[in-house]
Amino acid sequence: MTALGAGRARPRGPGARAAENVLFAVGLPVLAVGLWAVWSTRSANRFLVGPRALLDAFRQTWIGPAFVDDVLPSVYRLLAGLFASILLGVAAGVVIGRIRPLREILEPLLEFFRAIPPPVLIPVAMLLLGITDTMKVVVIVSGAIWPILLNTIEGVRATDSVMLETARSFRISRWDRLWLLILPAASPRIMTGVRQALSVALILMVISEMFASSAGLGYRIAYFQRNYLIAEMWSGILLLGLIGVFLAVVFGVVERRVLRWYHGMKEITRA
């Protein structure tokens, strides 16, 4: 996938490959943690904690009932929001990307909503939907949908003209054209959007719980923050990061499957 670097030979055996992958995955984090540990022994800042204290806090805070009470419901809402964002974003993106008048009607409106900070949106969402899980999922969707929507629109618009003409000339039905041409052609862009949405959704999960809530991962973090439970707060952020990495790994597997053709195509001359 390198456009500048020359080709590079890679070890072949599956065992070696797996070991290499693990090394790449943990190399930099381990290095960073090491530096951080050294640094924390020298710095006396109360708002930054060392890895040990953080780990202790993590164990005490999250391993146990808090996991079931706070983390799982949050993750559930996160996933619900994420799936809703993907479905809505891709569906709306395809429609908006293909139908130019619709795009022109909606674009200013969408841009308008996109610029509204979720913290001021939450009271309205609360009014219309109550203090419910639905409200929180809606808040997540209201932020996570944008990268998917925008990327889908752009991906759909950029469908190669010759490919489109091919489909048209063979009278491929609208439905088939959607599944066999437009979505695959846009899929690299859509995947970019989904990857971005993962982290945005996680952020909005936190924000949705920082207001009008009494449980959840985001609420906990806000609570620790307000109470200067610094190590606990960082442990919450650590947990968020871990969830982010986990989502990214799952997504990576899906992406590799969906975009196998794309990566294959890009890699040919790397050999």
Binding site: M1, T2, A3, L4, G5, F24, G27, L28, P29, F47, L48, R100, P101, E104, I105, P108, L109, E111, F112, F113, R114, A115, I116, P117, P118, V120, V124, L127, W146, L150, E154, R157, A158, T159, D160, S161, P188, R189, M191, T192, R195, Q196, L198, S199, L202, I203, V206, I207, Q225, M233, I237, L240, G241, L242, I243, G244, L247, A248, I268, T269
Partner: protein, 256 residues
């Protein structure tokens, strides 16, 4: 022209729906005021110089934050995207850092920079950076294989390949990243003002909120939305000029 007209139709439709929600009694107008009231208040506000000063403050932190974030993201994204080793080595770290909510970092930013605009800037940069960064990484990887071979066979230098091949390929991605980043930067500029309390639109929103002044609050929300709209108009313009060769723009031209 047609575009502006259609866009106006869309906005108008939204305003009508907004007006109808309290009018039909779906929500008490105390909490979701009539669109007409809100715009009436806005019309008063825009005559006030203090209002424009706040807009300027917010937009200044927005502009600085977005610029810094974009420059950093393009530079780092290009390097990381182009060097497979870096890409693989940073993957987990990036995925770990990305979902850290900027709002949760506000205390840290305050601790480091005090209750100042700089604290808000750090937050804005942090949030907007990832939006652009991810897009750049994917965009840089999207270089066509034949186009790349062409560049290599003609012995283009690294800098030239970057300038004439990689960046144009990544440009559509970058544009999307910029538009996403611009909105996120605006959101955080406002949110940071709401939470940290540095002067600007966000603080005004918070003031209206604590005073229970729904009309003023929604007026300011509308202003935020309009700012987002204007920002998008600017980016759309830049995009049309810089992506005139791109399929997406061509398709639009052909349809005319």
């Amino acid at each position: 022209m047609r575009k502006i007209l259609l866009g106006a139709v869309g906005l108008l439709g939204f305003l009508v729906v907004w007006q109808l929600i309290p009018a039909l009694g779906l929500v008490d107008p105390h909490y979701l005021p009539y669109a007409t009231d809100v715009f009436g208040r806005l019309a008063e506000e825009v005559r006030d110089l203090a209002f424009w000063r706040r807009v300027r403050l917010t937009m200044t932190s927005w502009a600085i934050g977005l610029t810094v974030a974009t420059l950093a993201a393009v530079a780092l994204g290009t390097v990381v995207g182009l060097v497979p080793f870096l890409r693989r080595a940073t993957h987990t770290t990036v995925e770990f850092l990305r979902p850290v909510p900027s709002v949760a970092l506000i205390p840290l930013a305050v601790l480091m920079f005090g209750l100042q605009m700089r604290a808000a800037l750090v937050i804005i940069v942090y949030a907007a950076f990832w939006q652009v960064f991810v897009q750049v990484i994917y965009g840089v990887a999207d270089v066509d294989t034949v186009a790349r071979d062409t560049a290599r066979s003609f012995g283009l230098t690294r800098a030239e390949r970057l300038r004439y091949l990689v960046l144009p390929t990544a440009l559509p991605y970058l544009m999307t990243g910029l538009r996403l980043g611009a909105a996120v930067a605006l959101i955080l500029a406002v949110t940071a003002e709401m939470v940290i309390g540095n002067p600007g639109l966000g603080r005004m929103i918070e003031l209206s909120r604590s005073a229970g002044d729904a009309v003023g609050l929604y007026g300011l929300v509308v202003v935020t939305g309009i700012l987002g709209l204007l920002v998008n108009v600017v980016f759309r313009f830049v995009e049309r000029r810089s992506l005139a060769w791109h399929q997406s723009v061509l398709a639009d031209e052909a349809a005319r």
